[in-house]
Amino acid sequence: MSNPVLPSSPTAKRPHGPAGPAPLRSSPTRVVSPLSVIRAVTKALWVTFLNLFRKPVTVHYPDEERKYPDRYRGLLALVYEKDTGEEACIGCRLCEYVCPPAVIKVEMLKTEKRNYAKSFSLELYACEFCELCVQVCPTDAIVMMKSFDLATADRREMLLDKDRLHAIGLQHQQSWATGNLLRAMQGPPKMARAEEVHAKPAGSQA
């Protein structure tokens, strides 16, 4: 009886009774009352029966535009300033620094009045749509669009340059979020901040 795992070896004599291998699976010990089974069965059938008369939730996608939520995180785009019509991006490269997958590359073009982005490239195929670039943008230049039409047969088409980003901005509807709106949300409420200032006397800062 060197190896109990192989009871069929010729030397091993298999005793009957408790020494034999345990039965694989005894019949279920939990007794289920037939009434509860019937109740469960009718309940399950009732659920699917009710579903039969509900309106399908399907949206016929290409024929029918789905309704986007206000804060949809979709395609990224660059926008123009509303009042002057100039490019809103000042090439400050904050989005480049904050981008976790590092898909944004910006070069700054310095001019006398204000700065511009000399080039702005966004590798959309690696973008994770975290919206951090939108959150940090000081001039609300980079925003997200209410669209997910990203499909393309060629991956290179998803390397977006400045012109493409501006074109996308004109093509789709803009999502609610912009940098300034988001930052206003993230700080403590104005009242609380005012109270904080009042609570601390000017001399105690040390």
Binding site: S27, L45, T48, K55, P56, V57, T58
Partner: protein
């Protein structure tokens, strides 16, 4: 028409009608299942997806026919046909209207029950010939299950036989022109439930679908099949389900009985069979798969004694009523 040709006409028509019906029943099932899940199902091919079955058939015909290198070629290639033939044969004895059927045998229901359980041969051949562990496991489960559920299935189907006093399907149908057997007090309803449950199990439909349990066995015994062979197996499965639905309509729902002129009979028959089919589909989308041991427990410890008792008590009722 030559004399040898005339007996072949009716089977030819029925065969083609059945194949067409099966093709479109897949669409019916998909639409119905979709509505149960708040979807709309096939919609793109043709108006409301009406051409979807044809597109599916064309696609399957164009697929490459793959035979696994280690498969037992002869068994593997023969299995879909062996599987399909009994599934088509069961339509032979079904009367679609008075005098409208291929062969109204005087042992019609016995023929149906005997032939319908012969599909297991083809099923096991498919599982064995594929030389695939999933397919083999699935085939063994299927044999196990179908043997277990054939007895309750037969006992449940024999209750209307006792009530009508005939094994001939057309006479069973004719006996229900007054009162459908499903409305026969107590016995009728119980027998119908037993019939539906054992049909579900005999067809390997959810919740008794352990032989094609996707999460365990990929696709069961047909995992190695592709192209037209796969289509034949699917055709056989659906034909079997529809054949059982027709049998249920004949045995319990009064076959062609219904309001309207007599020529509407086949339509009523079809409607009742489709009702039964949708009932089976409804059950399919309402339950989860149950365990192997639970399936066997349900068969041997619950359904078998229950249907046997039902059969015996039906016999007593029939004798008692004949005596009165």
């Amino acid at each position: 028409m030559p004399a040898w040709l005339s007996p072949l006409v009716a089977p030819f028509i029925v065969l083609n009608v059945v194949i067409g019906l099966v093709t479109y029943v897949t669409l019916l099932e998909r639409k119905f299942a979709a509505r149960m899940q708040s979807r709309i199902g096939p919609y793109r091919v043709g108006p409301h997806g009406l051409l979807q079955p044809i597109a599916d058939a064309l696609k399957l015909m164009m697929k490459e026919d793959i035979v696994p290198r280690t498969a037992d070629r002869r068994v593997y290639n023969l299995a879909p046909i062996v599987f399909l033939v009994p599934c088509m044969l069961i339509f032979a004895t079904i009367p679609f209207a008075p005098g409208l059927g291929v062969a109204d045998l005087n042992i019609g229901i016995l023929f149906f029950l005997a032939v319908s359980s012969m599909e297991i041969v083809g099923l096991f051949m498919a599982g064995w010939g594929s030389n695939n562990k999933y397919a083999l496991l699935s085939a063994m489960r299927a044999v196990n299950q179908i043997i277990s559920y054939d007895l309750p299935f037969i006992f449940a189907a024999l209750v209307p036989v006792l009530l009508a006093g005939s094994l001939k399907l057309s006479e069973i149908a004719a006996a229900q022109q007054g009162l459908w057997f499903i409305f026969y007090p107590v016995i009728g309803q119980l027998a119908f439930i037993a019939f539906v449950v054992s049909t579900l199990a005999a067809e390997n439909r959810v919740p008794f679908d352990i032989l094609e349990a996707e999460s365990e066995l990929v696709a069961g015994f047909r995992v190695e099949y592709s192209g037209m062979k796969f289509a034949l197996i699917q055709l056989g499965e659906y034909a079997h389900v529809i054949g059982s639905s027709f049998l249920g309509a004949v045995l319990f729902l009064g076959a062609w009985a219904g309001p309207g002129p007599e020529w509407l009979g086949p339509l009523w028959m079809l409607l009742k069979a489709m009702f039964l089919f949708l009932l089976i589909t409804w059950v399919r989308w309402s339950f989860v798969r149950i365990r192997v041991d639970q399936i066997l427990t349900l068969s041997w410890k619950v359904l078998l004694p229950f249907t046997l008792l039902l059969l015996v008590s039906t016999a007593f009722v029939v004798v008692w009523r004949a005596g009165v």
